[in-house]
Amino acid sequence: MASLTNRLGYFNPQYLRECRGRLKPRNVMAAVVLSGLFQALLYLSIANSYDYEGRPSDAFEIFRALSSIIPYALFALGGYYIVDDLAHEARTGTLNFIRLSPRPAREILIGKLLGVPMLPLLLVISTLPMHVVSGLMAGASPLLLLSYYLIVAIGAVTVFTMALLTGLGSGASKLTQQRGVSAIAFAGLTLFTLSPAFTLWNSQITWQTVTTGEQIFRSWDETSSLYWMALNIGRSALFSHLFVLGNFAVVSTLVWRTAVRKFRVPRATLLSRQVGYLSMIYLNVLVFGFFIGNGMEGREQFEGVITLYFLNAFALLALIFALSPSRQQLLDWVSYRAQARRTGHASSAQGLWRSLVWSDISPSVGAIALNALIAAAVIVPAAFIFGQGRLDYYDEPIPDITAIALLFATLSIGISSLTYATLVQVIFSSRLRSPLVWAVGTVATIAIVPPLALAFLDIMPDSSVNAGTLWTFLGLPLFGNAHVQVPSIGWVGLLGQLCLLGLLLGRLNQNLKQLEAQSKKVLQEA
């Protein structure tokens, strides 16, 4: 036995360490007793419930209740354990010792992923006999059970990977450093968003495709005609499963790579440039896929593009914070570049561009520009294609979208993204006590207050030409007629945006030069 555990420890010491720390007889006993009590209570409450005509069998009710509860319990409790464990290790400093060991980060994190949520797993596993038996008695096919467990398992891996990242990032602010704060926040997020979304999607779509006989999960009628990239994921068992599993795989991979990077370099930006670009491509392909081959009308498709536009706007805003390096990282970047110049490895203009696009410690403006281009590459052609020959709700023709209007809208949104990115980078490169709070506060104020104030004053984009210009200046051209025709004065709004961006870029450049000069001075003086 000792030899076996030693070999397991050699294979993955982190997993063994978690087993030893958690699988104590008292804990195991508590989990099993708790699960037994819960199952008994569930059975008693269903068996004694009011009987009415057409009421499903007890087994059916138990199976349906357990099928809904299992993802909630597993995701929320498992996520809580993982976040709390990593946040605790980060706070006490033990995580550093693991980080300095020669074991690769993926081994450590796999050990954490499988080992830390062991008790919630045990809790769930001990309910499986009841789940399987009630399911079979209720007429659920073995295929449905197989699909259920496969998707719940893959879903758990995705949620747990997110929990790993949350735990590793819990040192980002003083609030999240407090014991339990990150873990409770993650469990709350899981309970109120991830688990309901998971249960809703799979019970409405994925498991419907493998349900035979009595319908176990209630379904909406229109889900059977749901298409993604012309594949009928609402009816085909193969496509619906491939869609769900594929999405879990992509999300898990992106989050996993981010978690591994965060583990190795705790002070790194939340996302690497590469993962940032991949996430943007993924978001656009995923959402855009629903517009193709789904039999939507032109108007609906165009509304879909507008939805994608807003999603991209939020994604870009999130990326600005996830990709922007701190003052210390910018200092390292300018020092490194200065040293490269001194040692003759002077970086060319091409090298600078490469650095701005790929280096995680370079100013994020270049990366945000590229992400905006990725979004535009999907939205602009889609808006152009779906913006022709549309009818409104009264079947009246809507004017076609013009190429110049699309260019106008794209420029306005692109420039405003760059302005926000530059602003955040200016704040991060300045010496401030809480740069993140300043950046979030400033961006939120600029993004929310002016449009709200204009709306409150009833100055709507299409109320006058000047109003349209003002809205364009705020980076919101699609609120007006900009998607159809550009008022000649609208370009003044763009010009205003460009001037503001130019001023901010100048300020950022000045801050970077100050950092470089400061770096040189410190090294010469000391």
Binding site: S3, R17, T94, F97, Q339, L523, A526
Partner: protein
């Protein structure tokens, strides 16, 4: 630097022709408007015990953290045991050669001592077949054999500190980096701890240690580095640091009128000291026949001075070199260089 001074020094430690275990080139770590480590060129040979001293905030901890890969440098290069550190890489081979004990020593309170050590041994790829024996060895090294099954949370502070050391050396690192390892220990525990470090030295480990307790370092260090404001202002074999400075002689003579000269013994000694080319300065202490002499010669020159005094009939009752302490050297050299 150790490599430069060792050619003249005869020391009971390994020769400096041995391969370097630590080599840094222009190593710099800048935090905002100050350089915690500034252009440090450090060389430590195999088997050395290198003491890093300096005031608080001098950059000792940052330097050790950079060497331990716990911190990434702004510029400069680090080579450990012939392997250059690659920024952003796992550096697994280097990590296997390193043992790092920071000044705080967080532990896993939910594990037993045995399980705690097993965990770290496995993290460092110790073979399952060798595991039990190695744990026996390190427990014996730190005198915790009888605490094997105790929970870590049940240990005293001193025991926890020793357990941390056991954890740090369990994979037999070639280089041991110890940051203030004896801080917070009572004197007896500190002496025990220092004995353990000496045993590790005898086992052939190269050790870099920072401490504010200079008398401890003096006892077992072969080389010393003094850090001030991020710079390594002095670095060398401990003996060569002493030799760099002038000697202080203490001379006491008897003024009993038996000097066969028209002057008393004090005056005679003063005349010799004034004329001696290797006497930088001297001071007569409270007219007691005792002199404190700053002497720039070596031990042989000092012996010559003594024989001249005796030959001239001065009855010398005391003549010895006042040994400088590491603290004296630190206070003098560190601040001189910074100024």
């Amino acid at each position: 630097m150790p490599g430069q001074s060792a050619q003249t020094a005869v020391l009971p430690v390994k020769s400096m022709t041995e391969p370097l275990v630590i080599k840094t080139e222009q190593l710099t770590k800048q935090f905002d408007d100050y350089a915690a480590v500034n252009s440090v060129n450090l060389e430590v040979g195999a088997g050395e015990v290198y003491g890093l001293i300096g005031p608080n905030g001098a950059g000792k901890t940052t330097l050790i953290r950079l060497l331990a890969l716990a911190e990434q440098s702004t510029t400069g290069e680090i080579t450990i045991d012939g392997k250059k550190l690659m920024p952003g890489q796992l550096n697994a081979e280097v990590k296997k050669r390193l043992g790092f004990l920071p000044d705080d020593f967080p532990l896993y309170n939910d594990l037993s001592v045995q399980n705690y050590l097993e965990y770290f041994a496995q993290l460092y790829y110790i073979n399952p077949e060798d595991l039990a024996q190695r744990i026996e060895e390190v427990l014996a090294l730190v005198n915790l054999e009888n605490k094997r099954v105790s929970l870590v949370s049940e240990l005293s502070r001193g025991m926890k500190q020793r357990l941390s050391l056991a954890r740090t050396v369990i994979h037999r690192p070639k280089l041991l980096l110890l940051d203030e390892p004896v801080s917070g220990l009572d004197p007896i525990a500190r002496i025990d701890y220092c004995k353990t470090i000496k045993r590790l030295q005898q086992e052939g480990m190269t050790i870099l240690i920072s401490s504010h307790i200079l008398s401890d370092l003096e006892e077992f260090c072969t080389s010393i580095g003094i850090m001030e404001q991020g710079r390594l202002v002095e670095s060398g074999r401990i003996q060569s640091l002493y030799q760099k400075d002038v000697q202080r002689l203490s001379i006491a003579v008897l003024n009993d009128g038996r000097l066969n000269k028209p002057i008393d013994a004090d005056s005679a000694v003063e005349i010799y000291l004034q004329e001696h080319p290797l006497v930088a300065s001297y001071e007569q202490l409270e007219d007691t026949g005792r002199f404190a002499v700053t002497f720039t010669g070596d031990e042989s020159d000092a012996a010559d001075l003594l024989s001249v005094l005796v030959q001239e009939g001065v009855r010398v009752r005391e003549f010895h070199c006042v040994q400088e302490t590491l603290e004296d050297i630190f206070l003098k050299l560190g601040h001189q260089q910074t100024a």
